[in-house]
């Protein structure tokens, strides 16, 4: 049966007794500006929140961790992926977690890591935090759906 698309899908779902609000975990596996997946992950997350669903956590892995640097300077007529994530996190209290092992390899570092490793700077952007792979497993357990953005 083909059903017409409801003007308000959430309300329609509620009427039919379908779970109206879902909890998503989002995994970002590719780097910003290198790969469309980094943009699509953001667009998906924003759309999920606009539809009244929840995002349990966004987990950045592989080159995806590069979205967490506040030192990137994309051209002015281009989008600023890091700033978009920071703003979304600020507006919705999003938990943006960067994998520590992947981050260390690629030079994404916060104040704690800077001290621990005796580096002269940190570069993590507002709204992001560095933690372990356990955070990926944990959100996969807690969320209704895990959506992976990669190559």
């Amino acid at each position: 049966m083909i059903r017409p698309i409801a003007a308000n899908p959430q309300k329609a779902a509620q009427k039919e007794g379908i779970i109206a609000s879902m909890k998503f975990a989002v995994v970002v596996n590719e780097g910003p500006y290198q790969h469309q997946a980094a943009d699509t992950a953001f667009n998906f997350s924003r759309a999920v929140l606009e539809r009244g669903h929840q995002i349990d956590r966004v987990f950045f892995y592989h080159d995806g961790v590069n979205a967490a640097t506040r030192l990137a300077v994309p051209p002015q007529d281009d989008r600023d992926i890091t700033r978009k994530w920071s703003q979304l996190a600020d507006e919705h209290g999003l938990d943006l977690v960067v994998c520590v092992a992947a981050a260390q390899r690629r030079g994404i570092i916060d104040a704690d890591e800077r001290r621990r490793h005796g580096k002269d700077a940190d570069n993590i952007a507002p709204g992001f935090r560095i933690s372990g792979l356990g955070q990926l497993i944990e959100t996969a357990i807690d969320a209704d759906r895990v959506v992976v953005f990669g190559d």
Binding site: N29, H62, A101, R105, G134, A140, I141, V146, V148
Partner: protein, 129 residues
């Protein structure tokens, strides 16, 4: 790309980690292995699947000296100790690359392509690498 579904227990889900790429040349294989080990540390039920060029990850006697990168393939021998439930390799992927089960560093379950789709169905979380 991947979905989580219903699970029988609140804190236990069935993870399927899918490896489709060659062991070296990109970091996906190494960082996938780290996810597998993390999932077992959380006492999750984990199946690891090797497809396409991913089957090269399990080939015995790898030597990475000339590449100047770490040979992490011995770590696959620890999967059993970490209580990974199942290691699955797709038969067609082996055949197309002229690899036999004897060439692999650990014992595996070899499944045909149509059985692989059932594997996807029977897991809650799908992580692709």
């Amino acid at each position: 790309m991947s979905t989580g579904g219903s699970s029988s227990e609140q804190n236990s889900k069935r993870f399927l980690c899918v490896n489709r790429r060659a062991p070296h040349g990109t970091i996906y294989a190494l960082e996938s292995l780290e996810v597998v080990l993390a999932a077992t540390a959380f006492e999750q039920r984990v199946t690891v699947l090797f497809l396409d060029d991913g089957v090269f990850q399990l080939v015995k006697n790898q030597n990475t000296d000339a590449l100047g990168v770490k040979n992490f393939s011995p770590t696959y021998k620890a999967l059993e100790m970490y209580e990974v439930e199942r290691v699955v390799v797709e038969r067609e992927s082996l055949d197309r690359r002229g690899i036999s089960e004897d060439d692999l560093i650990i014992p595996v379950d070899v499944l045909a392509e149509d059985e692989i789709s059932e594997l996807f169905e029977s897991h809650d979380i799908l992580l692709n690498f």
